[in-house]
Symmetry: none
Subunit: 161 residues, 2 copies
């Protein structure tokens, strides 16, 4: 029975071909009796094989079930991430809309980590003055007045994780 399942498609094809050749032979004998129906016969063959070709093609080239299952599984995998640590996808549209520069973004990320201006300055090898400038520009661009607000807004906009 497992054998039948495994070669199911092959068997179907074989039987179909056998039946078609049988029809061909049958038609041949009928042709001997009614001589005038040749065109009808040829047309029938043409139509039959045309349909067979279409059917075969759909069977062979149609997206296989296995593939579609794999694709579904891929989507499921993505959904699994919803409850797991969420993979961060940067909202580039929001980022460009806010007009935040790359350096400002760096500073913003460090602010979000809870670092002080001094720590950020040390981390980026910059002076505290520079950090303050960047932060002031960030606040203007994010339309906020405090670093906690900046973090909150940036997270909402998916600019930072």
């Amino acid at each position: 029975m497992i054998f039948l399942k495994k070669y199911k498609t092959l068997i179907i094809y074989s039987i179909s071909l056998a039946l078609l050749f049988l029809l061909l032979k049958l038609g041949e004998y009928r042709l001997l009796i009614i001589d005038h129906s040749f065109e009808i016969y040829a047309g029938s063959i043409a139509l039959l094989f045309l349909l067979l070709g279409i059917w075969l093609s759909r069977r062979i080239f149609a997206p296989k079930k296995e593939i579609s299952i794999i694709e579904t599984e891929k989507i499921v995998e993505k959904q699994v991430f919803i409850t797991a640590p969420v993979p961060f996808v940067l909202n580039e549209k929001a980022l460009s809309a806010t007009d935040i520069s790359s350096r400002e973004l760096e500073v913003l990320e460090l602010i979000a980590k809870g670092m002080s201006n001094q720590e950020i300055a040390g981390s980026l090898f910059l002076s505290v003055s520079t950090i303050k400038t960047h932060i002031a520009n960030l606040f203007f661009k994010l339309e906020v007045t405090r670093r906690t607000q900046a973090v909150e807004k940036a997270k909402k906009l998916s600019i930072i994780p």
Copy 2:
């Protein structure tokens, strides 16, 4: 020329069909001469139309480019859900482990919203002094020294969304 482009596929199909019927007719006349080649002729028609069927089918039922783009867009839509608001589940174990009181938690939530001490005081009908005390206790319990750190840690512990 736009007309040609628009109906390109249709024209190709029409010409193909016309050629095939021409072949059929040609074959018919040849059949009158060589009578014995009937089987070959029928087989040829069968093969021809089989191939035509396969070709047609591939043309018609092949995954269209537009569809594949739509499918890609669908995947993007799913990714949007990943970034969508994740249902918050409070980690009660972590909360009790930190020994944070209900009032302190309230303050912490407002800090996370980006509010200043003054705003929090106004929101909870308390003095700024009280807020500062709560925050100092919060920092001690969360083992941090800055409010941004407190928010970061509390979010990691799932004490706040």
